[in-house]
């Protein structure tokens, strides 16, 4: 008869396996905890690196901001100086060389026509392009003494429309008055009104 008495409890028995579940669980807990700690540490390091980067960027921006304000002011000055130049050029562009117009007019007047007065008038107003504009009107009065005064006056009207000195500048030429001269019945007094194209300042 064999009698087997266990003096060691089953829980006290040595495990023949070198790796026990208990050890695995313990190692797993430790490794898990270490992983969590490493991740947390990594996150904290990343955060502080990011914060440092933000601080550096803020310092750079603060320096640039002062210069940025100067640049904004400079840009405003450039705009102002460009606007002034544009306005000055507008004055030049809107002016008309009247000495050339008068010489050209004199060249177009036939010998049978005697001019008695010449008036140039100017008004300034806002034009169709919403910019200020010069509007010139020339009023010529004269006496046509030739054999065919109507033709002479019409020819003058036509030349004031078509001659190269006037064609691009004059908008309309009208004979606004045509009548018998008071001194000689064969002569005719006339008035021609030339309206010039608007000349924009801008």
């Amino acid at each position: 008869m064999n009698l087997h008495i266990d003096f060691i409890l089953p829980s006290e028995r040595r495990n023949p396996n070198p790796v026990s579940w208990k050890a695995i669980k313990l190692i797993a807990w430790i490794v898990g905890l270490l992983i969590v700690l490493v991740l947390v540490a990594y996150a904290i390091v990343i955060f502080f690196a990011l914060r440092r980067e933000v601080q550096v960027a803020e310092a750079v921006w603060s320096d640039l901001q002062t210069r940025h304000q100067e640049i904004v002011a400079l840009r405003s000055r450039v705009q102002t100086s460009s606007d002034i130049l544009t306005e000055l050029e507008g004055w030049k562009r809107s002016a008309l060389a009247w000495h050339k117009q008068l010489l050209a007019l004199q060249a177009e007047v036939a010998p049978s026509i005697q001019l008695t007065s010449l008036k140039i008038e100017q008004t300034t107003q806002i034009g169709s392009g919403t910019a200020p504009t010069r509007l010139f009107t020339v009023t010529i009065r004269g006496v046509a003494r030739g054999t065919s005064p109507e033709n002479d006056v019409q020819a003058l009207q036509q030349r004031l429309r078509d001659a190269s000195a006037f064609a691009s500048l004059v908008r309309s030429v009208e004979v606004s008055h045509f009548g018998v001269a008071t001194d000689v019945k064969e002569h005719r007094v006339f008035q021609i009104t030339c309206r010039y194209q608007p000349r924009d300042f801008l």
Binding site: L50, W61, I71, L118, T124, T130
Partner: protein, 223 residues
Amino acid sequence: MKAASFSQQTTKIVAAIALGTILVVIGMWEGIAQPLVRAKRDQTTRLHELQTKIGQATQELRKAVEDRNQNTENLIQIIDISDRYLLHPSLGNYLISATVVLEKHAAKCGVTLESVRDAGLFDLPASQRKKGTVNYLRCYTARVVLRVGFFDLVRLLSSLETENPYLCIGALSITPQASGDVERHTISFDVQWPVWSDEDLFADLERQLQQDLTPEVRKIEQR
């Protein structure tokens, strides 16, 4: 019996440890991880914002050199035009300056001016292209009366208009003399000059140009 109670106690301890661990993990998540994630997100947004602004500002700095050169060129041109072609008041009076110019040209053409009078200072209608546009220039008009022949008048106008392309004859009247002299006519004409709406603005532009041309300022801008 003893083994059974030992096993129950072990289970309780393990359960307590497990619960404690879970609570610690939750605490770490809520107390450390979440705020860290939020703070990181905020910092990333802020960094992105700053990098965009820095990028724009750096581009603008590069353009600033071109802008300054453009401004300097504009100012040089404006001051040159102003000195040569705009009328400036003499002792607060434009008529004196206008008379000097007109007499100079009359003498050059061999004509005599009967009178030079003040015909007014007026503003051009403001452009309506841009809201709030102001005019930097106004118009000064001087009225001239003389008795000369047609060709003498043309020579005088030619002299005035050729020397100053910014000047404009605003009105002109040629009428025969009552005496019947056909060689000379009664002539009246208005001469219009551009003048500064604000002479202080012109002084300010000159100062700006002096500043822009200072070598020290150029060095600072290039840094």
